[in-house]
Every structure is written in C-alpha cells, then in structure tokens.
C-alpha cells in the first residue's frame, strides 16, 4: 500500500507521466468506441478499410463519399481524406487503434508467458538447464528484433499443418527441462509423471523426424499475415523477460522464507507459484506492459515494409506505406498529399509516445538505485 502511494506521489511529481496516462487513456477510448466513431460498412469484416471506388489518386480531407452504397450506411465525407486506392484514412486510423492494441497486448502477453515459464525454470533449478536456456536467449538476442521477425514472418507458411513430429517437439521443449532437472533433483509425484511424458515426447520425435516417416497431420492452422506478425514478434520478444525474471528469482531464492517452505515440504511447483512469483513478477509485468509501444512500432515497421497486415487492413504502418508514392510531388506543389502520411504517422507516434512516457516514469520509480533520494 505504501508502495502504491509512493508510486503515485512520484508520478504526480513528473508531469510527463501524466501526459502519458492521458494519451493512453485517450487511445483506449478510441479503441473501445471504434464502432461508434467509425461505424463499419461491412459488419462481418470491420477491420477492412472501406473502398470508395478504386481510383489511384488520394483525395483531400472533406471530400464527399461518392459510392452510393457507402453513403447509404451513413458516411457522407472522408474526414481525413482518402489514401491510394480510395481507402478512407479516418476509418483506417480509428480501427487501426484496435489493431495496435491487439498486436501490442497479445504480443506482450504471449512473450511474457513464455518468458515467465522459462525464467522460473532457469532461475529455480539452475545448473545445466539454466545454462542451456540462457545460451538460447543469447542466440535470439543476437539478432536485431526487426530482422529476425522479418525472417520469421516470411518463413511461416500461410497454412501451418501441425504434424505429430511438431507436437512431439513442442512437448519435448516443455518437458525436456523437467527431465534434465529430474536428474539433478529428487523425483516426486507429478514430476515422475512428467518424466514419463517427456520420454514419450522424445520417442515421438525419434519416430517422426529421425526415421523420416511421413508426417501424420493432426490439425492445420490457418495463419493470416497478422497472425504471423504476432507469432514472430512474440518469439522475438520473450528472451528479454526470461532474463529479468531469472535474475529476480535468483535474488529471492536465497531468502529465508523459501528455505522455510522447502523445509516444510512444499513442492517445487508450489514454491514457484506461491512464494517466488508473487515476490518477483510485478515490476516485470508493469515494465513489460509498457513495452506495448515499442511492439507496435516494430509491427508498424513490418507493415511499412509490406510484410505485416494484409492489404486493406486497418493498420497504421500499412497506411503510411500506401502514401509512399505520394510524398514527392514536385517543388511547385510540395505537400499536395500531406494527409496521406501525416495523419496515420501522428497516430503511431502519439500512441507510442504515450506508452514510452509512462515507461520512462516507471523506470525511474522502479529503479532501486535511483529511489528515495
């Protein structure tokens, strides 16, 4: 409680963080009110920006809507003008807010989950398994985020058939750490059960991958290009969180109350979930949620490069890539099509700025070396 009051007091002292809060609240409101602010023309597919014809030249803000069907749904003017292909910029910006939140929240949540799981295993068990996991995070961190994400987005197939071999691999990725830790720690109840499972998983891999048996498909996932971006960004993002969680767990693991709960006979699972995590994850979760801004920035960059959201989807980065042919219009009339890139760009910039302002304030508040001075 005193922690909360301290945080609030520090935040009041920093005007920038207040601006950050206002911006984030503003965008949250836009995202929630999107169907009111910009009623979808096609109810079944609200994320697709509506076309007002297919003419190539953008039209300025305030131009009337020409398509009679779209007029009948209540749209009279293009508030922010139209982009290449007569896509309505206002509609794209409003619904793009939802896309941004969806990408940001989902990517951070998924990578945080992977990060917490791997960080707990790594920090609590230590030894070989810690070494392996840390080297693995080294490898992923050795790539600049955008570039690895680019490679992954391209590599992920649109239709992802999941065969037995892949499931075996996924199971092994989860249970192999437990298997290794069982060699180093005593075997008990659920862990013995998991040892059995992981042996099964390894057998499955041997069966399908090494012997080269034809794959047995279990199910196939339909990946839209936005799903690919989500997966790629989550896979790129987790190692950072793993590192932090591991460090925190290493710090807390030495405390007396952990020793005590071990002495009482708590299982590893109980110690991790009841004693270690509650004492370690809050700062990490807060910091991670403030990463939403940078995740959205990365996703926008992918969209700008043409490998993000599908064509015509409400997505800020993509809307700027539509503007690329309309930036240079000769010296006589330099900013003829300013609305095609300034408006969506401002949306991205202010959205990210809001999260970063909040993040900056919290970084100071949570930094133990700078506190209470």
């Amino acid at each position: 409680m005193s922690e909360l009051r301290f945080t609030l007091r520090r935040m009041r002292k920093s005007p920038l963080s207040i601006v950050g809060i206002i911006i984030v609240v503003f965008f949250t409101a836009i995202a929630i009110l999107a169907p009111v602010l910009a009623p979808p023309v096609d109810i079944r597919d609200p994320y697709s920006i509506f076309h007002d014809g297919y003419g190539p030249t953008p039209r300025p803000p305030g131009s009337p809507v020409l398509d009679t069907f779209i007029r009948s749904t209540g749209w009279a003017v293009h508030y922010f003008g139209t982009a290449e292909g007569q896509l309505d910029i206002y509609y794209g910006c409003i619904w793009g807010t939802r896309t941004a939140f969806r990408i940001g929240v989902l990517v951070v949540a998924i990578s945080l989950m992977i990060g917490i799981l791997a960080g707990c295993i790594s920090g609590y068990y230590g030894g070989v398994i810690d070494e392996i996991l840390m080297r693995f995070t080294d490898v992923i961190l050795a790539f600049p985020g955008l570039i690895l994400a680019m490679a992954l987005v391209i590599a992920l197939p649109p239709l992802w058939p999941i065969d037995l071999g892949f499931i075996g691999l996924a199971l092994a990725a989860f249970f192999a750490p437990v298997l290794v830790s069982n060699f180093y720690f005593k075997l008990r109840g659920i862990w013995a059960f998991m040892l059995g499972l992981s042996t099964l998983a390894i057998l499955a891999i041997l069966y399908v991958w090494v012997l080269g048996t034809p794959p047995i498909y279990v199910l196939s996932l339909d990946l839209t290009s936005l799903d690919k971006v989500l997966i790629a960004l989550a896979l790129v993002g987790w190692p950072g969180y793993t590192r932090v969680i591991r460090g925190e767990i290493l710090r807390v693991r030495q405390e007396d109350y952990i020793e005590a709960s071990r002495g009482v006979g708590c299982s590893d699972f109980r110690i991790i979930t009841r004693h270690l995590l509650p004492n370690t994850i809050y700062p990490v979760v807060i910091m991670a949620s403030l990463d939403i801004g940078s995740v959205v920035l990365l996703a926008a960059a992918l969209s700008f490069l043409g490998i993000g959201a599908p064509l015509g989807y409400s997505d800020w980065g993509q809307m700027i890539s539509f503007a690329r042919n309309w930036i240079w219009t000769g010296f006589e009339n330099p900013w003829q099509y300013w609305y095609t890139f300034i408006t969506p760009g401002l949306f991205i910039f202010i959205f990210v700025l809001g999260w970063n302002l909040l993040g900056d304030a919290f970084r100071d508040i949570l930094d133990p070396t700078l506190r209470r001075k």
């Binding site: 005007p15 490898v139 050795a142 391209i154 240079w328 219009t329 010296f331 910039f349």
Partner: protein, 348 residues
Amino acid sequence: MGLAEFMVRRIILLIPTLIGVILLIFAVTQLFTPEQRATLYITSEKQMKEIDSIIRQYHLKETIFVQFAGWFSQLLQGNLGYSKTGNGPVLSVMLRKLPATIELVLFSIPITIFLGIYLGVRAAVNRDRAVDHVTRTISIIGWSLPTFWLGIMLIAIFFSGLGWFPPERMGTQAFNYIYLSGNWHHYTGLLTIDGLLNGQPWISLDVLKHMVLPTITLVTIQIALIVRVTRSSMLEALGKSYITTAKSKGLSNKEVINKHARRNALIPTMTVAGLLTAGLLTGVTITETVFNIDGVGRWAAVAAGGGGTVPDVPAILGFSLFAGIVYIVANLVVDILYAYVDPRIRLG
C-alpha cells in the same frame, strides 16, 4: 586474469552462441517448402530452372540431419544461395552493397554517441530542472518516432519543401561520373573518401549532402538510448561518496563533474553500444528503404517482399546471419573494451 586471457576466454564463450545462431537460421529454413529451400543452394540464374535436380542433389526431402550437413558444408564454402532481388550470389551482393551502409553508419555512430553523452550528462547534472526535462522529452520523442515516418517527414520538409537535402545516395551528375564516365576507381567503396582519392571533391560533397537526412534519422531514433543510460549512470555516480570527498576537497563543480563523475558514469554507457549496433542494423533497413539508398538494408527489405514479389529467401537468411554475426562481434569488442577500461570486470 590478464587482458589476453580474458579475451581468449570471452572468444571461447562466443562459440556456443555462434553455433546457436547457425542452428536457429537452419531451423528457420525448415519452415520453408523444399522448393524455396532449394534456392539456398543455387549460385546462378541458370540453375533456377533446375530446381528439381537440386532438391535431389542436396537431399532436401530427406531427414533433418542430412539436410543440415549439406547446408552447413555449403555455408562453410561461403555459398549462401542466389539472390533474385540482388541478381547475384548472396555473399557477393552483400559485399557489393555493404559500403553504402557502412558509410551511413560511420556518419551516424559518432554523432549519436558524443551528442548522447553530452546531453545525458547535462540532464543528470541538472536533475529535475528545465534542461533535464527538455532533454528527456526530446529523447523520448526520438525514441517514439517511427523510423520510416521520421524519414518521410524529413524528406517532405527538407527536400520537397525547402529543397535543401535530397534523398538517395548521390545526384545524377555524380552517378553519371561514377558509373558511366569510366574514370572512377573504387578504392574503399565509401564514396566520400573515394571522391577525394579520385580528385573529385565535388562528388564527396554531393554524397555528404545526400547523407544529411538519413544521418539525422538514425541519430534521432538512436540517441535516446545513450541519453537515458548516461543520465542514470551519471545520477548514480553523483550520489557516490567519492563525489562528496571531491567536493569537500574544494574542487570546482566543473572539475568534480568532468574528472570524477563523468569518467565513472561512462562505463555503463559503453555496455549499451552493443544494443546500439542492433538498433542501427534495424534502423538502416528502414532508413535505406525510405531514402532509397542502395545498401544491404534496403536489399533485405526488398528481399522480404516489400515490392510485393515472392520473398527472396536466401537474401533474407543471409542478411539475418550477417546481422547476427555483426551483433555478436560488436558485443565482443564492447566486452573487451569494457574489461580494458574497468579492471574489476576481468579480475572479478
């Protein structure tokens, strides 16, 4: 532990990461179809038509271990495949396009570091005063700006509007002289230096003028990192007892800051230089695309299907491998410098 021993130890520690990077790239290749994977083994355009025989030759439909052996032996021979978008083998295309990127990076790194350190120190010394707030606001704004949008806005203002600094790498006149006149010798590949070596300083000037906007873009998005780290490590250093000692000895404020606090505060700043490299590799990809500079970054972006074509798989994987290795080497250099400057690291 001496410095030499530290270096050897650090380089040995690098091997598992390097193996991991190679394995990860290989794992990514496994997500492609055998036909797409076959392009990784091709060295000329002619072979593009013989994909089926290549699939058979390199056992691309066999088990993962057989495939890895084949791929890795090609990698060791420097064969990374044929890039459709670059019209040549990946390695030679990369070497051809690298100088433009290096030139851009060479201009932006020193500006980022020195300006960043200067601003960070100023902000820390004047903590919670106007200078601090302004510096932090500017650096947060830079951190939040989408690279591509900043580039577009700079072009719109300083090229379309004011006509001061053009995009692309050089003007038509310079292009004609370099590629069509036949009098041009490629000494370093860096046009600013080659211009002087060829006795054509106007080319250097032209290239410099074209470099202004991309450099501003890269500096603006990178500088926040340096400012933030310098500021917080400077704040930490200013709170140490040796600062109190220095002050109580009667040293002037300037001397305390320059000789005692700043030197110690710069050590943590060095460690983020590795992160700076990662940011630059990312930034260069987008900056070169926006400003239409023919470097490795734009090539990677085009290869990824920026033009709406089929992705150029060998180019993307080659560039990822290159980026991974650059980043690892940069971190190695930073670590060694770090140990050199701060003996506690290698002794501890």
